[in-house]
């Protein structure tokens, strides 16, 4: 859409302090305890109309007006793709028949509660309004951008608006009808315009890997309250990868393009007040530890070979981080990849075209 997008640097600098506070609250690992509970009182997210929003700053490379101009109808109307509002779960010993061990799932760990949301199910619903570890959350998935993200929702529920920006799901909250593009986590229309919704880490992995790591996990079933042809993906396949998930076609023209990687190449993206960064997942698998900087601040991304995923850490003190088999050694001490003694940033898988389209100023660490 724009020929030379620029980052809103002044806005980012203005929020640096609060973002650093967010990072500090996330010390000691990426999974398990929600940031929302750990904050100091001054940093608690505002809860308005039941929707928790966060005093945070993310790179905003397009104005709200530009984002609204970029909205396209995806076909179905509001709630035409129905969210799952009363999810039912099965134990890891009795998973849905359609769930193959190699199929992707989106794994969540909150307050000791562990849940898996199969991609083959969410491709039909895109949003699950659930309670995990006592927290009201929404686990969201956009098939066209390959992004699975988690949001706190308070008393509210999120739904599928039927609109897309940059091929990415635009959610709406049912109480205020504010529109929230998923990757941006930003309100772009409605009472919460300009605010950010609070997020938590969601891991994209396979069912076999997840249940091996978390045998106590439960998994979303096909008892969603809606009739769908579960087991049949209208866009392609992930196990093995084919169709839309593999080819170079996008449904809509991205907001910005870059040919450093294939359109659907998977990157782990993270963004905060320092900017936006992307780590190609293939590079991460090869190197296990990938270092780089954002706004001159050092960051390190580490590979978790058990879940085939990665975690992004802010490393301002430039502590030594090295891979050692399945663990990661920080200043001589071994840690699990998801539990480094550094400031964890929320990172998630995304197709390269989608990440770059939203964050053209992104740095790439590889």
């Amino acid at each position: 859409m724009r020929e030379s997008p620029t980052t809103d640097g002044s806005s980012r600098r203005g929020f640096l302090g609060s973002a650093a506070a967010v990072g500090l609250a996330a010390l000691a690992g990426c999974l398990g305890s929600p940031d929302i509970l750990d904050r100091e009182s001054d940093d608690k997210p505002a809860v308005t109309n039941g929707l928790p929003t966060a005093d945070r700053s993310l790179p905003q490379e397009y104005t709200v007006e530009e984002l609204n101009d970029a909205i396209l109808p995806g076909g179905p109307g509001q709630d035409g793709i129905p969210s799952v509002d009363d999810p039912q779960f099965a134990s890891a010993d009795d998973p849905p028949e359609n769930l193959d061990g190699g199929d992707p799932i989106f794994g969540v760990v909150l307050n000791g509660d562990t849940k898996a949301y199969p991609q083959y199910n969410l491709v039909w619903h895109e949003i699950v309004n659930d309670v995990v570890g006592g927290e009201s959350v929404a686990v969201t998935y956009c098939p066209l951008t390959g992004t699975a993200q988690g949001f706190y929702r308070g008393e509210n529920e999120l739904g599928v608006s039927g609109r897309l920006i940059n091929s990415n799901l635009v959610m709406f909250d049912r109480e205020t009808e504010t529109w929230w593009p998923q990757i941006l986590a930003l309100g772009i229309r409605g009472p919460h315009e300009g605010e950010y919704v609070e997020e938590f880490q969601v891991n994209w992995t396979s069912w076999d890997r997840w249940r091996e790591q978390y045998p106590e996990t439960v998994v979303l079933t096909e008892d969603t309250g809606h009739i769908r042809n579960y087991g049949d993906d209208p866009y392609g396949e992930y196990n093995p990868r084919s169709g839309y998930y593999e080819n170079e076609n996008t449904l809509f023209s991205p907001l910005a393009t870059d040919d450093r990687f294939r359109m659907k190449a998977v990157v782990i993206g993270a963004r905060n007040a320092d900017g936006a960064m992307a780590v190609p997942k293939d590079s991460l698998r090869e190197q296990a530890v990938v270092e780089g900087t954002m706004s001159e601040t050092p960051y390190v991304t580490v590979y978790d070979e058990v879940l085939d995923t990665g975690y992004v850490y802010r490393n301002p003190e430039e502590r030594s981080v090295e891979a050692d088999g399945g663990s990661v050694v920080v200043d001589g001490d071994p840690y699990d990849p998801d539990a480094l003694p550094l400031e964890c940033e929320i990172g998630f898988d995304a197709m390269w075209f989608a990440w770059y389209g939203y964050y053209p100023s992104t740095v790439v660490h590889e």
Binding site: L72, G75, G80, P234, Y244, N249, L251, F252, S253
Partner: protein
């Protein structure tokens, strides 16, 4: 029928409606044209339901039946501009059918119109007394209906074809169904007007 008579008929809506009715009756009275129309109607309905995702080959799933809570209350829940929620699912052990009564009704309307069009075209081809119709007329008229069959799943069709969508194209999808039905009705009237129903043998 002379050229002048036919021209006068085209300019007379009441006469055209009468001609259309007579031609449609002719399609159902002759067993061969009725068979043609019926086969096309069923074939189109099956293709439509497959295109909208309500019909799939699933030999991997055991036979069964699922009905949603409050099926009547959800009959008119829309999933797209002209597609509706399924209220039941039937697995036969080979074929999976998502039962959406509204989708079936829309598909049946389109399929019937396509069937009548091709039934009339068949009559024109096999009946020498028919005048002025080409064999391709009905087929050509059916094209909008084929397009309209994609109305519920337009973006998915675009993904399958690798076509990048614009806002205009997506807006067009919303109009395919009413446009398809209108063109099919006009086509039936046009084809019917070119058949001399009094000269057709039964």
């Amino acid at each position: 029928m002379s050229t002048i008579d036919r021209l006068a008929g085209r300019l007379n809506p009441r006469l055209r409606i009468e001609e259309t009715r007579a031609a449609m009756l002719l399609v159902v009275r002759r067993y061969d044209s009725l068979a043609t129309a019926t086969i096309v109607t069923i074939g189109y309905l099956v293709a439509f339901l497959w295109a909208v995702g309500d019909l799939a080959v699933r030999p991997d799933v055991a036979a069964g039946l699922i009905v949603v809570d409050d099926p009547l209350g959800r009959l008119f829940d829309r999933t797209g501009p002209a597609s509706f929620e399924a209220v039941a699912m039937v697995d036969t052990g080979f074929v999976r059918i998502l039962v959406s009564p509204m989708n079936v009704a829309i598909g049946l309307l389109l399929a019937t119109l396509v069937g009548i069009n091709l039934g009339l075209t068949y009559l024109a081809v096999v009946q020498p007394s028919a005048c002025g119709i080409s064999a391709g007329s009905g087929l050509l008229a059916s094209f909008p209906a084929l397009l309209s069959g994609t109305v519920c799943c337009g973006p998915v069709v675009l993904i399958a074809l690798g076509i990048q969508a614009s806002g205009l194209l997506l807006t067009m999808f919303a109009w395919l169904l009413p446009a398809g039905i209108l063109l099919l009705l006009l086509s039936v009237a046009y084809v019917a007007g070119t058949i001399d129903t009094t000269g057709v043998t039964t």
